[in-house]
Symmetry: C2
Subunit: 353 residues, 2 copies
């Protein structure tokens, strides 16, 4: 009954011949036997090699049989032969984070148009998981890796270098160990946010960031502090107790005789967290508090005062990281890096009405 249904559909779609091959794995050998030639010839024909010195009729018969049997080359066998898998390993903190999944999509597209597939893994900001994923992907013979590393991963970078597997770091860089890297000018991004807030009359500006050794985040904070000096009010929150820490920071910022009148938050997740708490306090944005966030998300668009944010050129970052990786795969010497500018998308959350 089920088989009948399938058969029916195949008939309709003109796949009749495939039915005969149902479930039987067809290899180059199957075709060779069917046609009565060597596997050598089958391989040549199917790969369009030595076309000029292969009998046209034989070639045609090979192609026909291959089509009839719906031959699918075994890429694993090719990979073993070529020592090349046409696979890229992507390691991010969490593929469910919109920043990661947006980048993943761009990398997927760029990889695909170059014949590569991508295998992914989430590190949850853990050094150990990162190391495991690196080894896993190396075992699986990926041709290269694109990685957003957690903090304190000098060891992993060194390990990657000595492994000989081409890789490019994205988002988070480790300048102490020269590596391929693609990211943004974080210092300048923060500067854009702060100068904008200042230009709009904000005097006392708070910044919320993670307590971390991650350079790209610290650069964002440094960008703030260099502009505000002693007037900078910094709140560092732990990744383990983000909600409480953000709440505490905001409470501290808003109390005392010099409450802040503007807030800059250095990541999308932190910004959402901060906005939720600000909402719960009934603080009105932007009148009581101006806010600038980081990265694009639908939540910022739908907020009652659409949120001003620092926009990263996701497409550029994703594409460039693949390009650099493919370069490194082709010729693994020297390192390349690309640092993109960001754009401040100004909306109501930071502009007094």
């Amino acid at each position: 009954m089920i088989v009948e249904t399938i058969k029916q559909i195949y008939l309709e779609h003109n796949y009749l011949l495939s039915i005969t091959a149902m479930k039987t794995k067809v290899s180059i050998k199957t075709i060779a036997e069917q046609v009565g030639v060597s596997t050598t010839l089958v391989s040549y024909v199917l790969n369009n090699k030595n076309e000029n010195r292969i009998n046209k009729d034989v070639a045609e018969r090979i192609r026909t049989v291959a089509r009839e049997l719906n031959y699918q080359p075994n890429q694993i066998a090719r990979s073993l032969k070529f020592q090349k898998t046409f696979t890229i390993g992507l390691i991010v903190a969490d593929i469910a984070n919109p920043f990661s999944s947006q980048i993943a999509r761009i990398i997927e597209n760029e990889a695909k148009s170059n014949g590569y597939s991508v295998i992914f893994g989430s590190s949850d900001e853990s050094k150990e998981k990162t190391k495991d994923l690196i080894n896993l992907f190396i075992n699986r013979q990926v041709d290269g890796l694109i990685i957003a590393l957690p903090e304190n991963c000098e060891e992993q970078v060194a390990y990657l270098k000595q492994s000989g597997t081409p890789f490019v770091l994205i988002d988070r860089n480790y300048p102490s160990i020269p590596s391929n890297y693609v990211g943004i000018d974080n210092y300048d991004a923060a500067g854009k946010a702060i100068r904008h807030l200042q230009a709009n009359g904000h005097k006392r500006i708070g910044v919320i960031s993670y307590k971390t050794s991650l350079l790209h985040l610290n650069e964002r904070v440094r960008g703030v502090v260099d502009l505000l000096n002693e007037n900078a009010v910094v709140g560092e929150v732990s990744i383990d107790h983000t909600n409480e820490d953000v709440a505490n920071a905001i409470d501290r910022f808003m109390s005392g005789d010099q409450p802040i009148d503007a807030l800059f938050v250095t990541t999308n997740l932190l910004t959402i967290c901060a906005l939720k708490y600000i909402n719960s306090l009934g603080i009105k944005i932007p009148d009581q508090l101006a806010v600038v966030g980081f990265d694009e998300t639908d939540a910022f668009d739908l907020f009652y005062a659409p949120v001003t944010y620092v926009k990263q050129p996701m497409a550029d970052i994703g594409k460039k990281s693949v390009r650099i990786l493919l370069d490194a795969i082709a010729k693994n010497d020297g390192v390349q890096s690309a640092v993109f500018d960001t754009e401040l998308i100004v909306r109501q959350s930071s502009v007094l009405s």
Copy 2:
């Protein structure tokens, strides 16, 4: 200089011995030669096989050398031998869509704890891309596939069946061709939303969904219509002109002598799109219009009237799809399906204040 830095770090981390192996691919053969035994023995030892009849000293030497050389087994070679790659292919409409990336993360975890990795691809709701991805992944010898299919993919389902590759459909089902499937009770989910709106005194309810043959979405609409009968006001929007169509539907719903007082939207992306347009019209939620959306997103939390939504049990769906797939990989006969209940998360957007 760079080399010095790396060396330094390796010394610190006690990887001195690895340095000597820098860039040299080490195989089982390398170890065999170094120890002076056959590759057979190396393989047995490293895989803990025939432990009882292998000389303890030899085994120890093999292990030591393997560790010193930081031997990493070539999984491609193992895959070829075992006809098994321990890889799952995941095909979604767009990995950048939060629904997809959340599911992806759960699938990743569940797969990993069973020794599987996951390779992904986005179909952009295209039949052709889906077919290409299926073939690509089959060529790459994935052990199984988890797929959210676009509409009109009967052919692809039949193709998958005849390929013999185990697969499970998620989110979108094709009951005409019995297959492994994991999803939710879409009809009931819509019912939950509508009964809630009715219980809150809403009389005239509009529903926005895609114009599609996708069963799961039509089930959501059917769930509405079966409750409201002729009072149901349905707006179907094209996936190609979503923004305009949503705007047109809402304009139509809100005009005339019987404007709607409540709106149910059947997907997260559509809900966000609808909310943006409603905002732009200055319509106040829930007082002028109650809204119930679908799926979880930060945007719903941060909305000035936190949005009531139908919550899918993402973890259940993700885990179950992997479990069923692994079952099918182990013993590919018969089909399993799992249909989960949803939960209506009631918040301000649908409750008159």
